[in-house]
Every structure is written in C-alpha cells, then in structure tokens.
Symmetry: C2
Subunit: 599 residues, 2 copies
C-alpha cells in the first residue's frame, strides 16, 4: 500500500490523499483481530471492542515505549510525527508495532494549527477522520459533561422555586417516596463549567440563568474546551480487563465527580444530581479505542485527547492495553515535555494501569536547543531567524542544558532513555554530533538522528534499532512519590525534583483548598499540575534548565472522578480563542467534494 | 428474526432488547444495496452513500406516503409508531416498504419523555443507537453551528481591538493582500444563537464576552436546542442526485446563512465570516442518510431531526429519495398535526425535493378526539380521567370536528387521505365505527382501526391495504400558495385556509422585518410558521376546530440558508428545560453493562 516517496516532500495533505489505504478489517486481521472484535465506522476506521482484552488475556504484552520531548518551541518538536515514524521504523525492521496517540481537539484545528496527524511521510490516515469527528468520542464527552451542567443549574432553580415542603412534595416518586433531598448548592463553589470543542473565547466568562424565575439560576459561569473536561480525563484513565469491567470503572469514576459544594460545605457529586448513570450511558461506546493506520500500514490507536498542560495529557489506558496484546512494540505519546506529559504518564497513568514502561524516547530538535541556548524568539507563522537555519554550535551547546535536564528527569523513573534527534535539512553534522555526545554523556543509552518526516520508516530505522536495544535493558521503573504523602509534599517533590524549583509557595486559597480536600478524604490522590509547557518552570520566559526559582501554586482543584489533585501554577487558559484570521478560513470543499485546506 | 409476540405486551425496552436483529449489511442487500453503497457504523447501523442515487437513477420511484395526525394531546397520538406499524403491515402484505423518520433530540430524551423509537411491537431498533448518538449527525450540526458562533464573536472582538488601519494590517495575507474587510456587525441584530443538544434552560438568556478586552465582545446572547439550528434545517432540505451535488447544495445553503446585520443594515453571512466552507466540511459525513431496521426487518431511514413547531419538522429529502429508489412504498413522517408538519412537508419539503406524494395517512386516537370534544385536561405523568377509558360517543362526535378539519386540510393539497385510528384497548367498537363514519363522510378514502402497537405488522394489515388502494388513486398534488406572492399574503393563505383564522395581525416589528426581507431579496421564499402544536390556532387552549380568530405574528425571522421565512406566532421556546425530576435519573448501566431506564 505505501505511498510512493518523492522529493521535495509534498504537502501533508497531498501525501495523505495519495496514500492507498488498507481496509481496516484486513489490517486488523494481520494483528490477530477478528471481525467480531471490531466495530466498523466505514472502511478505514473502527473501534476495537474491549472484550478483546479477555479473549487475549493469556497473550504476553509487547514492549511499552513512551515518547516525550524536551521543552518545546511554540512550533512543537515533532513528537507525534516521531512516534509514528518510530513505529514505521520498527516495521521496517520486521517488528509488529503499533502507535497510540491522542485524538486532536477541533478547537485548535480550526483556529491556528490546522490538522495534525503527524507529517510528511510519517502520518496517520485517513487524516480527515483523524482531525474531524473520528468516531464521535469527543462529542460524547461534551454531551455527558453538558448534561451534568444542565442538571446542576436546573436543580438549583427548582430547589429555589419550591421552597420549604414544596420541594419534597414536588419530587415525590415511587423511587423517592419522601421526595428528593435538598442539595443546597452554593453557586460560588461550583467547579463544573460547560464545555464545547470550539475555540470560543466569548464563552470564557458568561452569566447564565437570566430571564424569569423559570429560566434558571442567575450566576457567573464559563466554558472550557471539551478536552479539558474531567469526563475526558476519565475516558483516558478508565481501566478493566473487559468491556463490563471498564464500563463499571467508568461508572464509578463518573459518580465520584464533585461539581461543587453545598452551603454546609459538603461535596455535591454527579451521583447526588442523579446524572451519573446517564452520563455513563452517553459514554458507553466512546470507551472502545479507535484504530486507524500509519502511512506504512500499521495500527494506529487514537483514543482520548486530554491536553497536557491543563489535564494529564495522555491517550487512554485501554488503547495501550489492547495495543500491548496485539503488537510486540507499542509506542505511546505523552504530551509536551518530560516535565509534563511524561511525569503524568508515569505517576498518574502507569499508576492507574499497572503497566510498566520499557523505554523512554526523548525527542529533541536542534532548533529548540538553540532557542534554549538564547536564540531569538520563535513565533508561529513568521520566518525562522537565521540562527535556526545556519550552524551555531555555541547556541546548541548552551541550550543542551535543557536536554540534559530532561534526560535526568526520565532517569528519575529508572527507565532507559533514547534521544531521538528529529533532524531538519538545515541541521549540520557537527551540530548533530555535538548533541549526540552531550546526550550520551548525560546518561542516554543512545542519541540517534532520525529523518522519518522526509523518509518515512526508512528514516527511523536507526532510532528503531536503538529503541529495540533499550527495551532489552532492565527497566527499574519506580514512581516519583508515594500516594500517602501529604498533598503539599507530593507537589513539592514534583516541583523540586522534576521542574528544578528551590521551593513551592502556596497561596492562602490553595492552602485552604488542600486542607479541605484532605478533610474530604481526597488526600491520597496523585497530582496533576497545570503549568506552562514552554519552560521547565512556571514562567514561559525561563528557557534552558532554570534552577532556584520558587514555584507558585495559585489554586488547587480536585478531579475526584478522574482521580487526581489538580494544582494550578499561574493563569492557565482552559478555553483558547480564535485569532483574527483563523485557520478555518482556508477550509472548504472543492468542486469534486474533497476537503481542502485542512493542513 | 422477528420477536415472539406475547400478551400482555412487555415494555418497549424488553421488546427491543429481545429482538434478534438482522446485520444491516444483509438487510440492505435485500433492498439492492451493495456493500460499497454502505458506510457501516458497527453491525446494525449504517449510512447509505448518496452516490447510490446515481447508481440507481433509472430505477422508478416507489409510492410516497406521508403520515400526519390530528391536533394531538400532550401525550402524542402515536404517529411514529403508526408509521413503523404501517411499514410492517405493508411487509405483511408482501410489499417492499421502508419508513423514514427523524432522529430524536437527546434533550427531551433525558428530560421528560425518555427514549422514543415507536413503541410496543412497532419499533425501530437498535433503540439505544436511535435515542443516543446514532452516527453523530446531530453532533456535527452542533459543531458546525457553534464554530460559526465563535467566528462571529471573535470577529467582533478583533475588529474592535484593531481600530482604524490596524485591522487591515493585522489581517493581511496572500489571499487578502489588503486585509479583511470590516463587517461592522451590529450586536443588537445578531440572530445566530449557540446550540446544544441538552435541555438547558439556564442558557436561554446569557451574557457572553465578559472578562478583559481579549475575552470577546460583551453582549446578550442565548442558546437554542440543536435541532432548532438552521444547519439542521439545511441538512433536512439538501437535495442532489449524488454526493457531490448534495454537498454542493449544502455548501451553497450554508454560505447563504444570515447571522446578523452590519451597522449599515447589510446582511452578514457565514460567507462573510469565512466559515461556510469549514461548516460544510464538518457536515460532509452527516449528509448521508442513516439506516436502522423495524422490529419486522425492514429498512428504517433516520435522518435529520428538526422540530415541527419551531422548524419545518420533517426528516431529510435525501433519505426519502434514497428510500424511494429502494422500496415500493416509502412512509415518511411529518411532525405534529397536518396544520404544522404536513403543511411544511408539502409547501417546503416537496417544493425543494420535486417529489410528489401519493397518499396522506392521518393518525387519530379516540382519546384525542374526546379531548377536542371537551374532555378534561390530559397531563403527562398523571392517570387519564375516566372519560378517556370509558365509552363516550358524545365527546367523540363533538371532538371529531378536529378530525374533519384535518381531512379538509390534507385534501386542500389534492392528495388522497386515509385515516388511521390508532386503537387503544379501551376504545369501544361503537366509538371506532362513529369515527369511521365521520371520516369517510368528510372525504377520507377510508378510516381504518389499527393495532400495530399490540400486534405489530399484523395489526396494521387493514391500514396497509387501504394505503395501497389510496396509492392507486390519482393524486392531483398542488402547492397551497405561489412563491412569488408577497410574504404577508403567503402567511395569510396558510393562516386562513389551514389554521382557520379570520385574519392575520402583524406586529409593527414583524411588518418592518418583512419589508426588510423583501428588500434584501428574500421575498420569494416559502413560509415556515412557528406556532403551538396543541391547537389548530395559535392558542393552545382552543381545541376542536376553532374559527374566526385573529392569528398574531409577533416577529418574523429569515432562514435564508435553509430557504424559508420563519414567522413566530406567540412566544415559542427554542430551548426546553429540565423538570424537577428529569428522565435521566432513571437511566443507568446495569451490572452486565446494559442500558436501563432509557424508556
């Protein structure tokens, strides 16, 4: 099937549309999936029914490789492309391999970045499905989330409109002969926004419930982008050895979600609203992982899409588990740098899944190292300054401090590290050699240049060989912190050992929140810190490997359903906006009915 | 496959879950659909690719039957159930038949009514898919609609934040070397709400754009339920003889949508916002109609879901067109009474499709006739007063005035009418005979009791026979009004000839709006009146066949993309609310992972 490669490399869209795809049923069969394991969505995408985990329970797991990166420039360092390229490279070596990535949010797709399904000759196809609705999981997340929001506001309105005894009388039923209890929700404690999968900044701060007394309960509210929903985090963290178990786990987690507090200070859950069952029903199909394919005909799992800065940033546990039963090598991507997505991969996702990773692949670009070394600002949409396209060993060497720190972070977890140098045509041999030396000196098992963007799997052969070797090394995987430490202590361990902070400063609001969570019994959850991805610290302007800073925690939330404490370092926007000339302006249907402009 | 029928009739859910379904691929094959015509969504649902219209262009169309009803009680008169039962009855007679119905909104499903896929032994299955996400069309409508809303608010914000020359400078590009034009949108003229498929009354009246100057443009706004979206109306009205043509028609209609007016009074369209192409791309899969099956193994098309009171209330043209190529009898349902859904079916849908209906089936219940005759109020969730469960010929005779009027309305269009008396166990033979006499005296070709709810297709055999006979009659189909009449005249014709009004009263706001639309060149569109479904008039308390009332038009909107003028008679809520004890409270997953409580 593979595409015929040409130089110069055509546009991503041209490559994707010229690829001859394998019917997903046939491709799945080569991995041992039977037709009954699949829920087809047309010819080239499908869901894999989770009961396959039971059918294949005696099959040994493949090797488990997590792809992370150094601190990126705003252009990104090609982590998804490298994950796909690596799997294609493993295929070139004759290994059965699969990649696990997140479903993109349509918000950014139509806003700034256009579609993203890898790039060049390392892509996941069909790209339109990948970038648009896929199989509707994100829509299911939004529907479940917003049903809960409507339930919350309606409950407050009805409780207010039926004062005293009238509430119990109005809500009497066979199931509730004495009527429903009053929840007495304090509107100022509500943490459950509404969500939409659009970059709609006008919804960040809104007032709802205006009109008359039957039009809701007037209060300040807001919208987040759907991938920031706790329901999305739950989808990514659900675990089980078959469909029934996974659905039960989802039901339990959804029922634990805290949406706010009563005037008496008691947590109010989706269970209290009576909406947890319906939310789970809305998510019952989304729970099965989706499969597409790489340009070179390998399985690509695409399931769940939490952002790594404002959520835990990893694709679903169940996708990884299914992939590990089908492939000898499973490459899973963690969002942003090792300080963010990888830390959460290890301390949150692996803790929930019980899976042990065999190797870390750390993606670096010469371009990003130069930026960390003091190169000029990199701005999307503008031409790169010449420092980035001409040899400059001094900037590379200085900036490599960032790479060294990420290697050290990965090694904290006892897992072998391979550095993938995602090589651009303008990178010189001397620059690459310098990075290789610094990386291996810092403890990386290998540092390998890779040209999968231009050359597909062929370009990632050397990387794939290094990864295979790394997987033969002993992995002494360990978590960074124990769950039974106090919340503040867990945050401190991450901030000092991973980010390089001297200490953590908690706002008085954060101190109070932490105390309340520990009193409510949420103290033993892992930590999911929301912070910028553009620095190891909380401050996006601190490049390289900053040390000695005080890491500020402004506010602490609890995602009790997903199962983590969620401290915020600085202002994190949970709803992006559209620019003055958004990407959607280029998207259209041509005369033949084809999609144009999605890249 | 069919279910084994038992008495007493089990719950809808029990029947649906006990049915042994035919794989949709196999069922489709019996209608001449090839595997390449289908886009499978699992085993029991699929989309039919619109290119099938080209492949089968030389096949003659089947007979085209529209199902409508008398003015209903708030309980509904079983129109969907009768549509399904009739198709099952046609099957019992050995005819190849298919039913076309709308996709339900999840808003009401989780609010008051629970799931609805017919009932008893006349259902469409699988019912969970029917009632939940189906193939995601409704989500696509919401995504396209809300992308446009975000585009609108972002444009207003950016134009404000870049005053003078700065706007042109900021938006310069290769495509727009002089920058984008200023749209100067007047926030008080915006007619484009946001939408969500949840009954969320707190979103009826909101203020958006609060925060700082980069958080949007502060203004009053609101949400409608997704099925009220003009994008949904467009999905239902798109026409074409293959995929490319239909998609092109959709692109044209979406690009015509007027979202508001500039301060200079010029209409602002999605094309002006540059978002029409992206909206169409979001709808490119939704355009193919979905197929499920009846309990007796016939094709059920489920496509588009506009409400009949606040929209045009009919399933899609393309679904009907595909069905007519595959079946000898196609039964399509129009929402609410003949004054609403059927009038719009004829004057809007048939005008857009060019299809000619062969027969009208008018569903009546003894219960509803008694209510029109002066029986006590019927309230969902409460026991029926005894007038409705004991013989009362006087109430039936008095209330039959409503039935007579609906027969007259249907005959206005020159199409043969068959009355289906949806018979309940408590209806007496004398009551049924009385209705039959009145109906045939009023000009119905036949009036046939039907018990498809209890007996499936067997119970609708007599009805099916009458419908087959009606389809042999000459149909002298004609539209009610010419498009080139002035808007006010078209409204007057509908109000007087269909509703029975003496005259129409236009508010001064409505007068102004009509004038503006005619000046903007929208004067020759058909009319889609929004009014209560609980009376032939605008006043839900006027039962029977009211005459002599003045029909008030409060406001007139224009759905230029969908292609109709949209006058509002009285306050029509476009966003329903959740009651104090919503239906979602019963919905859950049981220990085995099955859905419970969806009925």
């Amino acid at each position: 099937m593979p595409v015929v490669k040409t130089k110069p490399v055509p546009s991503d869209l041209e490559i994707a549309q010229s690829a001859e795809l394998i019917p997903i049923r046939d491709l799945a069969a080569t991995y041992g999936l039977e037709e009954d394991d699949l829920i087809l969505y047309g010819k080239y995408k499908a869901k894999v029914h989770l009961d396959v985990l039971e059918r294949l329970q005696n099959r040994p797991d493949g090797k488990y490789i997590v792809v992370t990166a150094i601190t990126p420039t705003p252009l990104g360092e090609g982590k998804t492309t490298t994950s796909i390229g690596l799997v294609q490279g493993l295929g070139q070596l004759g290994h059965k391999a699969a990649v696990c990535i997140r479903q993109p949010s349509m918000g950014p797709t139509f806003s700034i970045k256009g579609g993203a399904a890898g790039g060049g000759y390392s892509q996941v196809v069909p790209m339109e499905d990948f970038n648009l609705h896929l199989t509707g999981d994100l829509h299911a997340v939004s529907a479940a989330h917003n049903l809960c929001a409507a339930a919350l506001d309606a409950r407050m309105m009805h409780e207010r409109n039926y004062p005293g005894d009238r509430w119990a009388k109005r809500t009497r039923s066979e199931k509730h002969p004495n009527g429903l209890p009053r929840l007495n929700i304090n509107p100022y404690t509500i943490t459950w926004n509404r969500v939409v999968d659009v970059n709609d900044r006008a919804l960040r701060n809104i007032v709802v419930g205006l009109g008359d007394k039957w039009d809701g309960y007037p209060r300040e509210a807001g919208y987040d982008i759907s991938v920031a929903s706790e329901v999305m985090a739950i989808l990514a963290l659900v675990n089980g050895n078959n469909y029934r178990e996974a659905l039960r786990d989802m039901r339990t987690r959804i029922g634990r979600i805290v949406v706010g507090y009563s005037f008496e200070g008691k947590p109010v859950t989706t269970e209290d609203l009576g909406v947890a069952g319906a939310m789970t029903v809305l998510m019952k199909d989304a729970i099965h992982p989706n499969i597409l394919q790489t340009l070179e005909g390998q399985l690509a799992f695409v399931h769940a899409g939490p952002f790594a800065n404002i959520a835990h940033g990893n694709s679903s546990i169940v996708a990884d588990k299914v992939a590990l039963k089908l492939a000898d090598y499973v490459v899973t991507e963690a969002g942003f740098g090792s300080d963010i997505g990888m830390e959460k991969f290890f301390d949150i996702k692996c803790r929930a899944s019980g899976l042990t990773p065999n190797a870390v692949v750390l993606v670096a670009t010469i371009r990003a190292l130069k930026m960390h070394g003091g190169g000029p600002k990199v701005v999307p949409g503008y031409e790169l300054p010449r420092e980035y396209v001409e040899e400059n060993l001094e900037l590379v060497e200085k900036g490599a401090a960032n790479l060294v720190r990420h290697i050290e972070i990965a090694k904290l977890y006892g897992v072998p590290v391979v550095v993938a140098i995602n090589r651009f045509p303008t990178d010189t041999d001397a620059e690459v050699a310098l990075v290789q030396k610094i990386a291996t000196d810092a403890g990386a098992l290998a540092a390998v240049p890779t040209t999968h963007w231009a050359d597909g799997g062929e370009g990632a052969r050397a990387l794939a060989e290094a990864v295979v070797q790394a997987c033969e090394q002993p992995s002494n995987f360990r978590f960074l912190y124990d769950l039974d430490l106090p919340i503040k202590e867990k945050i401190r361990i991450i901030a000092t050992q991973v980010y390089g902070a001297a200490d953590v400063e908690f706002s008085s609001e954060a101190e109070q929140q932490i105390k309340a969570y520990e009193q409510s019994g949420f103290g033993n959850l892992p930590i999911c810190i929301a912070k910028t991805h553009l620095s190891l610290s909380h401050d996006p302007t601190l490049k390289g490997a900053p040390r000695g800073f005080i890491f500020p925690i402004r506010e602490v939330r609890a995602s009790v359903g997903a199962g983590f404490i969620y401290p915020l370092a600085g202002e994190m926007k949970t709803m992006p906006g559209l620019p003055a000339t958004p990407a959607f302006m280029n998207v259209d249907i041509d005369e033949d009915g084809n999609v144009v402009g999605l890249f």
